[in-house]
Amino acid sequence: MRKQLANWGNYPALDCEESSFSQEEQLTQYVNTHDRIIARGNGRCYGDASLGEHSISTLRYDKVLHFDVETGDFECQAGMTLDQVLEIVVPKGWFLPVTPGTKFITVGGAVASDVHGKNHHSEGSFSNHILHMEVLTGTGMMTCSRSSNTDLYWATCGGMGLTGIITSVRFRLKKIETAYIRQKQIKAENLDEILRLFDEYTHYTYSMAWIDCLQKGKSFGRSILIVGEHAAKEELNAKQGREPLVLPPKMKLTVPFNLPSFVLNNFTVKAFNALYYGKNYKKVMESVVPYEPFFYPLDAIHHWNRGYGKDGFVQYQFVLPIDKKEGLAAILRAISDKGWGSFLAVLKVFGKQDDLISFPMEGYTLALDFPVRKGLFAFLDELDALVLQYGGRLYLTKDARMQQEVFWKSYPNAERFAGIVKTFNPDGKFRSVQSDRLLLTQ
């Protein structure tokens, strides 16, 4: 049935036909009788990557198939959300090897976006932990891994669903002693200091920074670095230590409807940033916290995306090579001069990665939100030009508007990727609004 679909940014909202399946047989039959198909998980990519003529939801294909509590090998169908994975594995002393800032994404989506987390510099992206997976390609069901059907494997990791429908994934979990994180928050007065702090704390498994994009002058780039390690049993307090693998009960908040867009104006964003940065903060704060607020601070507020109003927002995330510090400053300056603000700006230093089409590369990545408004896309095109100039690229999972040349110029293996997609998706059966826009499937 046709209905209006939008992903997390609520932009764009397009008429799509969405169906689902709970059995492989139903999926095969669907794929054999439809064209212009794109897989869609929990709709947490921000833009149009999982929108298309026929979006096929994987959410009912969500069974766990294998879990070895000795080795941490875990296999599930692609529609299972990370939230569900955590619910199953944490009580047994295991954790996701890599997790993005929300647990409400599917495992299939994690692979198709090759998601990264706070531990990218130390443990790589999600694909780094995959043992093997199954993909229903345009030429049939195939298993692939780093050692078999490698072209398919690499074009599927970060390949935005263009090689076909990922149906199941086996990956290796990470051993934990407790469900808690020992975290440290360090204040940085400006951009130079935060980048220095990233270096200084690089031995921590997890690190990221909140950066205040509205500051100018000597506070330009004012940030808070947050680093963490999985806490050992002896680091918990008595109450936490009673059931170290169980999280304390928590409150659930939700934004029940779209807020008028003026709610998130320059003033409120500044107020939020000031509160967060807080003058009375100590320079360094240490605490032991449950994993949820550490990894998923925004998941605590359901539908926070509605805070941006009904016109939606785009999240802009780019990465610049590690030797292009001046580029980061230039782009941040352009953003702060424009003052179009961002409720959330996250800065992180990626470790080395050089895969076929995955987003991460060694360098600086910044993610920020822009409510959709008149003139925004022209401004983002200007930012794109800066990103290109400094040899960077944009994250396809967040993208809703990039011009196709930007993609082809910034992803060095784009041609090779497109060639492999052609092999497994010869008739362009699998395609999204995004892949058509970027001329990946024409």
């Binding site: 969405e18 709970s22 059995q23 047989e25 069974k63 199953i88």
Partner: protein, 231 residues
């Protein structure tokens, strides 16, 4: 919905027997329940429309269930079924005859054992026939009446029967309908309501709860007005 109910009972540490037309399609769910809950899970072939096979199906179950939950259903295509008897028969037989056929067998066994519980998933569509789905609705109306009678009979043997009247639920069956989000339940919510209702030995539950009141109003619209509505 069946998946959510099975998961709910498994996580409450019930052993689960799964039955479906193609038992090989239950393999993934079996793994899922075992891994999540560590309870024994078995799979069985069962075809709601093959009435003759029902006694044998039940007989061959090595362990007779304490609770039987009848979740199968078929919404069908009302438009097509108005002129195509095969479609109409499939709707009636899946939702009514098939359910009666298997629950008769179960009821006999539980009555003899003087213990057990039967949970039938009917539908608010059975509370009043409407032009958009009265074939499905009439089969569910029959099923609701059947459950009510069965409850009356088995009460005297100590066997409990609960009727479940779901409103809109987000399942594969309804994915081609436009459902109002505020009135629509997730299967997990329905499963939770069923588990709680059964534990409290409720007779009839509506899920979400407000459907009891919505249906009260709908049942009480005078017929001379109701027939003019396009529902």
């Amino acid at each position: 919905m069946a998946v959510a109910i099975a998961r709910k009972y498994a996580t409450e540490k019930y052993a689960v027997q799964l039955a479906a037309r193609k038992p090989e399609q239950l393999y993934a769910l079996q793994q899922d329940l075992q891994i999540r809950a560590g309870v024994p899970v078995t799979t069985h072939a069962f075809d709601a429309l093959d009435f003759a096979s029902h006694p044998a199906f039940y007989r061959q179950l090595e362990v007779k269930p304490d609770i039987v939950i009848c979740v199968f259903g078929y919404l069908g295509d009302q438009q097509a079924a108005q002129s195509d008897w095969n479609e109409a028969a499939r709707i009636l037989h899946t939702n009514y005859t098939g359910a009666v056929s298997i629950l008769n067998v179960v009821a006999e066994d539980m009555a003899a054992r003087q213990s057990g519980a039967i949970i039938g998933i009917s539908s608010v569509a059975g509370d009043r026939g409407r032009m958009s789905n009265y074939l499905y609705g009439s089969a569910k109306a029959g099923f609701t009446a059947y459950l009510s009678g069965l409850r009356n009979r088995l009460f005297h043997t100590g066997v409990h029967v609960m009727s479940v009247q779901p409103g809109f639920v987000n399942t594969r069956m309804t994915e081609n309908l436009t459902l109002p989000p505020l009135l629509t339940a997730q299967p997990e919510e329905v499963a939770k309501d069923i588990f709680k209702g059964a534990a409290a030995r409720r007779n009839v539950i509506y899920t979400k709860w407000f459907w009891r009141y919505i249906m009260f109003i709908i049942r009480n619209i005078p017929e001379f007005i109701f027939k003019k509505l396009k529902l």
